[in-house]
Symmetry: C2
Subunit: 342 residues, 2 copies
DNA sequence: TTGTAAGCGTTATCAT
DNA sequence: ATGATAACGCTTACAA
């Protein structure tokens, strides 16, 4: 047998012909509508025999639905990667495809991303809420493209939202430190332009105040979510005349920075300072006796997002914006033991 | 002004009308062909005014090219994530879009992935070579869909290949340990079904043999690329009557496992054992004085892959399969110092 | 260099 | 429940 080169793909016409029905009938079959049992059977046989796969481009052209969902994040880190993974799987089961775009926190790239999604005609967009994106988002929603945001709130656009209870989780984490006997607790907090940054810092304050402990200015350091920020923070804390015995870090990158500084200076946790960190990443199981961490319910976040997107796409008019706030789990490990040395 | 709901998107027809030319002319403009200067000007104005964006579905239907490239990996880890990132960016500049699929090492999901890519009509597929995928790959190449593999070789299918020089890099890494005075060097090696697993182990052996050091069976442990494998390996090594003073780990996950065991048992590197690991990940900068690592040239790998895909897609008949092997860099850190204690 | 028109593979409308 | 047929928005001969 000679190789004719790539064989032409079977179309709905081929199926119709082989099954002895009209193409309309095949189309109805493909879209799950009712049809005569015998026809259904014939069509299934034909599809099988021809290896027919519906052409998404043709579907998109007719229906104006591409089945693609844009996913926009600042970076693929240890939080967003598993989230993307869950989302991809979930959407695929709904016959949808995820398109990922990483903007590196660059405003220009963020705009490019929106332009890209728009040109690709995605049916919906999932993104972390960002203080400097509202116009781009509005451009999408105005075109009827649903947007779901997570992580950070965003004022303005009419979009569904999925968050975690940052305030409560942070508060409980700091309460845990208090429970271990810590009284001098510092915090390296995230960007305050992000709602999660504000909420996590507020949780820290609420726990201290509820316990009657005054807030100390020296125990604050703005870490900007970055490794460097955490590095600077702990350096500052440890050189205070009266250093804290514990620190609450508002994300895992800043905690990385703190651990790095400790290493470089021959210190460690919990020996020299207790640590509780937002986010739970692999390193936190590996470092010493582990880092006590706040684990975000990633698969639940993904499910909530997917559910919002799906309903927006299938139910035409949902009047109000929906919002869901999920609880985090605190994972106790060695880094949050009682104050020891000094 | 009343909201009419989502406005209809401008089409090539709208542009043609507004510019006062035929749609064919607009199409030619969009495809970068020559046209009269005045027409070009009018068309650009019209496109700008209408916010026209070419509909990819319609293009795909006519040209049978979707502009999408499938990316298939077993997991999004610290190696594949930046690779995907680089590839996405690179392809986007070529007007192409990446579709990612994670198969978790599951053969069934791997087949699903191929089915998915096929149904999505991707123009090409990029994937890690896998010993149990040749039929799926052949199914694609037979249909004329170019496939580029990386990481591991795969016999059979006619595909382009991008690798790193595992053997040489591993050999140099172990030579480095030898240079530091180590003579008892163990290895936790990867899956031998993967060519990279075989090559990295061979590099280890070559370095030792070149130095006249006999290979010791006790100094081998199959780690299966997994964290658990590394954990078991170091446990075994450290309980030998005469433990090694250094170990070469064939990937970063196994090294994670080793570090974890060391932690749990109050040991550390390099104090108790020197470590050199394949892959360079963030943790390796954070642990103690750092873990000496073999860094794969991720952006070069991405560029090579993209270049292969692009040429296959633009140049119809490249007869022979191409293959490229890139060099790794060894990053010296604290974990590979000379033998010390005991 | 440009205009015209056929056709890509579906879905949806209209009869039947 | 089914068949016939007109679109959807492009690209690409073919003519001019």
């Amino acid at each position: 047998m000679v190789d004719d080169g790539p064989r032409r793909r079977a179309t709905i016409n081929d199926v119709a012909e082989k099954a002895g029905v009209a193409i309309g009938t095949v189309s109805r079959y493909l879209n799950g509508m009712d049809l005569r049992k015998s026809n259904r059977r014939e069509i299934e046989l034909a599809i099988e025999a021809l290896g027919f796969q519906r052409n998404p481009a043709a579907v998109a052209m007719k229906t104006d639905r591409t089945g693609m969902v844009g996913f926009l994040v600042s970076r693929f880190d240890e939080f967003h990667t598993p989230l993307l993974n869950h989302l991809s799987r979930g959407f695929r089961q709904n016959g949808r495809t995820m398109l990922a775009y990483v903007h590196d926190g660059d405003e220009m790239l963020l705009r490019n991303a929106m332009e890209f999604f728009s040109s690709q005609r995605v049916d919906a967009v999932v993104m972390a809420g960002s203080p400097n994106a509202p116009e781009s988002v509005a451009a999408l929603t105005n075109r009827g493209v649903p947007v779901v945001i997570f992580n950070n709130d965003m004022s303005g656009p009419k979009v569904d939202r999925v968050f975690v209870d940052n305030l409560n989780a942070s508060c409980r984490a700091v309460e845990h430190l208090l429970g271990m006997g810590h009284r001098k607790i510092a915090t390296c907090y995230g960007r305050l332009a992000d709602s999660s940054g504000r909420q996590r810092r507020e949780g820290y304050e609420r726990a201290l105040l509820a316990c009657g402990i005054p807030l100390v200015e020296d125990f604050y350091h703005p870490g900007d979510w970055s490794t460097q920020g955490g590095y600077d923070a702990i350096q500052k804390f440890m050189s205070l005349p009266e250093p804290p015995t514990a620190v609450f870090s508002a994300n895992y990158r800043m905690t990385f920075g703190m651990l790095q500084w400790l290493r470089e200076n021959g210190r460690e946790s919990p020996g020299d300072i207790a640590i509780v960190s937002f986010d739970d990443v692999e390193l936190f199981r590996l470092y010493n006796k582990g880092i006590t961490a706040i684990a975000q319910p990633i698969s639940e976040i993904a499910d909530a997002i997917r559910s919002y997107v799906t309903t927006r796409l299938t139910t035409p008019d949902i009047p109000d914006i929906r919002s869901r706030t999920l609880d985090c789990r605190i994972i106790l490990r060695g880094s949050s033991s009682e104050p020891s040395r000094r």
